[in-house]
């Protein structure tokens, strides 16, 4: 039932994009969850959240990026250099964090220095403030307008607010369906494996959205649920992850990931865009307010509150706090979360890892097993008392 989602989620290109492009559709990649896909959808462009999966070498990425950079953007760059993203007609780079921001120069300069055709025809540096104020929302509204002007000019497209409103409504409907899917894994006992749910979420970022919506509806209408009664219920927090094998490693036969705050996942709340508001303002508000990312400095308390809320709602037994090495934003926030959650009696496991091929699979497996044992003991103690 999930096979197709897995196929799409675990590959870079897929048949739906190939077919759509054969019919003349445009496809634009983006690097950060702060970009509102609704705008691309309204223009008939396929939004594509770029992934770093299945890279087998970092030869070009290591040459462009320095050695102290998170392996996720390095893998993205390598894909560009290898021509794996040649199906993209454009790329939107967001200063989500320092490493991801520098992919701008690395893509452009790799094209020049290595003489590789890696730069998509449309290239946009999309700026998102790090805080929520009246003037930062205004900045983002202007930035969205700048994007619309730029993309419509580049591809000679016509933009209409009516279409944008329709896209906003469509995305809200899709969010409703994703919420239903999310409820299955938060259910006690979980009715879907975290890896399966994640495959659906990631696939939804990698294909034409209308097609994804119908696949999702079909899945929800036919899915009977599975039984994960005796598994420890985990929440997964931290650095961006599009790698389903990583979730599988955590779950194995003993656990199930019932909630997450991951960048490619639904994060904690599936917030809706206000359909009554002026569209760009509504999008700016939703995207600035929604994303559960430590790039929004000074927002730790709010994020902690949301995490605690999700822990209670999903009856989480333990929290895995992971960060990719050199991802200081999540790494540091994980330190705070560990302190505060442990104080509340919620067991935590902090993991630092590399992104990409599961180089440290056994090390991680061992630490997760030990954590599960800790949760088992806790369960026994709680039952006795």
């Amino acid at each position: 039932m999930f096979e197709e989602f897995y196929t799409i989620a675990q590959s870079i290109n897929n048949e739906y994009i190939v077919k759509a492009k054969e019919h003349g559709a445009l496809c634009i990649g983006y690097t950060c969850s702060y970009f509102p896909e609704e705008i691309l959808h309204a223009l008939g462009i396929i939004p594509y959240r770029v992934k770093g999966l299945n890279v087998s070498s970092l030869s070009v990425a290591d040459a462009a990026f320095g050695p102290f950079i998170c392996s996720h953007p390095k893998c993205l760059l390598q894909h560009f250099a290898d021509g794996d993203y040649s199906f993209l007609d454009g790329i939107i780079v967001t200063p989500g964090c320092d490493s991801m921001r520098r992919i701008d120069e690395c893509i452009r300069k790799t094209a020049v220095n290595f003489n590789l055709p890696v730069v998509p025809p449309f290239f946009f540096h999309y700026t998102v403030p790090h805080k929520i104020t009246e003037y930062s929302v205004k900045w983002l509204v202007d930035e969205l307008q700048r994007f619309i002007d730029s993309v419509t000019k580049h591809f000679s497209l016509l933009f209409s607010y009516e279409k944008l409103k329709e896209s906003i409504a469509f995305y809200n409907r899709m969010r409703k369906r994703l919420e239903e899917l999310n409820a299955l894994r938060m259910h006690y006992p979980a009715r879907i494996a975290g890896a399966d749910a994640f495959a659906v979420f990631v696939a939804g970022l990698s294909m034409p959205r209308d097609r994804f919506y119908s696949m999702l509806e079909s899945l929800l209408s036919k899915y009977n649920g599975a039984d994960f009664e005796n598994r420890r219920r985990l929440m997964l927090i931290g650095s961006a992850n599009d790698d389903i094998d990583f979730i599988k490693t955590i779950e194995s036969q003993t656990a199930v990931v019932v909630a997450d705050t991951l960048c490619y996942g639904p994060r904690l709340d599936i917030d809706y865009v206000d359909e009554e508001d002026e569209p760009l303002h509504a999008l700016a508000l939703r995207y600035l307010n929604h994303s559960h990312c430590p790039r929004m400095y000074g927002g730790y308390k709010q994020r902690l509150e949301k995490v605690v809320g999700a822990i209670h709602k999903a009856q989480v037994e333990g929290v895995v706090l992971q960060n990719i090495r050199f991802c200081d934003l999540h790494g540091a926030e994980n330190g705070l979360l560990e302190r505060d959650l442990e104080k509340m009696g919620i067991p935590c496991l902090r993991l630092e890892r590399e992104y990409g091929p599961m180089a440290d699979y056994e090390r991680m497996r061992m630490r997760i097993d030990a954590f599960i044992e800790r949760l088992d003991v806790r369960r026994i103690v709680n039952t006795r008392s």
């Binding site: 320092d98 490493s99 120069e105 540096h125 700026t127 104020t133």
Partner: protein
């Protein structure tokens, strides 16, 4: 952390040490020589600093900065933790004491052979990442461990410029549960929308500072500080001209004094005095140079396109002297006012700031512009090859100073520059500047020993036939 380190507050220790150091030249030459015998770990940095005529004042200024921090609460003032690339002028205008993490880290690494190692490690114990920038971690560890003056509020302006930096301040504020404010920087500089954003953000900052200090911004005080800043800019601009001379008519530490002083006391008279001393020394030496009397053995000249190396005893500067390498400036010693030589020479007025003090709005626009042109804030906020960004600044300054080569030195925690420095180096090489990337940590010798750093640097100089 060892119990021994917790016996005295680290900032108090630094204050007493710098205070004592600043008095070393007050006695006779014989007393000075004898005193050096008793401070085996401190004599090298002291000797290095005193090579400049302004050295003693520089140490006095540092001691005053620390005195302000240590005694802030006794004097009824609030403390604000901030970063080197945030201009403290506004804090002085509101009578708030700046506690600049990077400055405290360097003050400690210069003096102590052990550097800030144990404070760096304490950050990890508190949950902060070991991969973050050591410039903040060095002193932040001590403050996390409560062995420093308590902090009342945190302000940073690096979001959008250096996330690792911003993250350290956000972490500290969340860890200690104290008020936090961030100024954001869009990735480009010259546009009305950006200027408006800077000003609106800055107004919100002032409201935050007023709220948490209980003080109101005094327009006259702000005007006075801005005028002092104007004076300081003029002095720096004169110094810049001297720093372009070959051989260099000023000590190699001049650039360090310029930026460290500005980070400590922007807009304050004590920094003006330091600059005046440097300018006087420059004027005298240039006069001698013009008369053919001034001599120097300068063999080659370097431009540091990022920061210096700050571990024990100012060894970077000692090495440069030993190798007869001239050192005029780096990216930290430029503040980009509209009469700064590279601005005038390249006609970059639109990217520079000007100081206007007639109305409050003028002053706020000016100070927001000053802040948004601080070192690092200006040059690495956007793609390095964009207008007025890192590459353009580096090439312009390296050319202006008649540099023979360029050096990048930073920290492994600097995600931002490490994300593009290899590309930058390729471009500076193409522009004709041999470029060396140091893999050391500017604040922590444990990452790469100074000996290894020096060996590699010398190897670069020899291979490229620069010495």
């Amino acid at each position: 952390m060892r119990q021994a380190l917790k016996q005295y507050n680290f900032d108090w220790m630094l204050w007493r040490t710098y205070e004592a150091g600043s008095r070393l030249l007050s006695g006779t030459k014989r007393e000075y020589d004898i005193a050096l015998r008793y401070i085996p770990y401190f004599r090298d940095p002291v000797k290095e600093v005193f090579k400049a005529k302004a050295g003693q004042l520089f140490l006095q200024m540092t001691a005053t900065y620390l005195d302000n921090i240590v005694n802030a609460h006794h004097r009824g003032k609030k403390t604000c933790m901030t970063t080197f690339c945030f201009s403290p002028a506004i804090l002085y205008a509101l009578d708030i004491v700046p506690v600049t993490l990077e400055l405290l880290t360097v003050m400690m690494t210069f003096l102590y052979k052990r550097g800030t190692g144990e404070f760096l490690d304490y950050c990890n114990e508190a949950g902060f990442t070991e991969t973050s920038c050591s410039s903040q971690r060095g002193s932040m560890g001590a403050l996390l461990a409560d062995i420093g003056t308590p902090i009342d509020m945190v302000v940073t302006d690096s979001p959008g410029v250096c996330d690792t930096n911003a993250n350290a301040f956000a972490f500290f504020a969340a860890y200690k549960d104290i008020p936090f404010f961030q100024l954001n920087m869009p990735p480009w500089l010259v546009e009305e929308r950006v200027t408006q954003y800077h000003v609106q953000d800055y107004k919100a900052l002032i409201a935050f500072l007023e709220e948490h200090s209980g003080k109101r911004l005094d327009n006259d005080r702000l005007r006075e500080i801005l005028r002092e800043l104007q004076k300081q800019d003029e002095l720096i601009n004169e110094l810049e001209q001297y720093l372009c001379y070959k051989p260099l008519p000023l000590p190699v530490t001049t650039c360090l004094f310029i930026y460290a002083g500005r980070f400590m006391f922007a807009g304050m008279p004590i920094y003006t005095r330091l600059l005046e001393m440097l300018v006087n020394e420059g004027r005298e030496n240039v006069k001698l140079h013009q008369q053919g009397i001034y001599t120097s053995k300068e063999k080659s000249r370097g431009f540091f396109c990022y920061i210096d190396h700050y571990t024990h005893s100012l060894r970077l500067w000692q090495m440069l002297e030993e190798l007869n390498i001239g050192y005029s400036g780096n990216i930290l010693s430029h503040f980009w006012d509209d009469s700064n030589p590279p601005v005038v020479h390249n006609n970059w007025k639109e990217a520079a700031y000007s100081i206007k003090t007639q109305t409050l709005e003028d002053m706020l626009t000016s100070i927001a512009a000053i802040n948004s042109r601080m070192p690092m804030i200006k040059s690495i906020r956007g793609p390095y090859d964009s207008p007025y960004m890192w590459l353009q600044d580096t090439l312009a300054l390296a050319s202006m100073y008649k540099s023979d080569f360029i050096v990048y030195n930073g920290t492994p925690g600097c995600r931002n520059t490490w994300g593009m420095v290899k590309l930058l180096a390729q471009d500076t090489e193409k522009a004709g500047f041999p470029t060396h990337i140091m893999y050391a940590d500017a604040f922590d010798d444990r990452v790469q020993s100074w000996d290894a750093t020096r060996d590699r640097f010398e190897e670069f100089l020899r291979i490229r036939r620069l010495i």
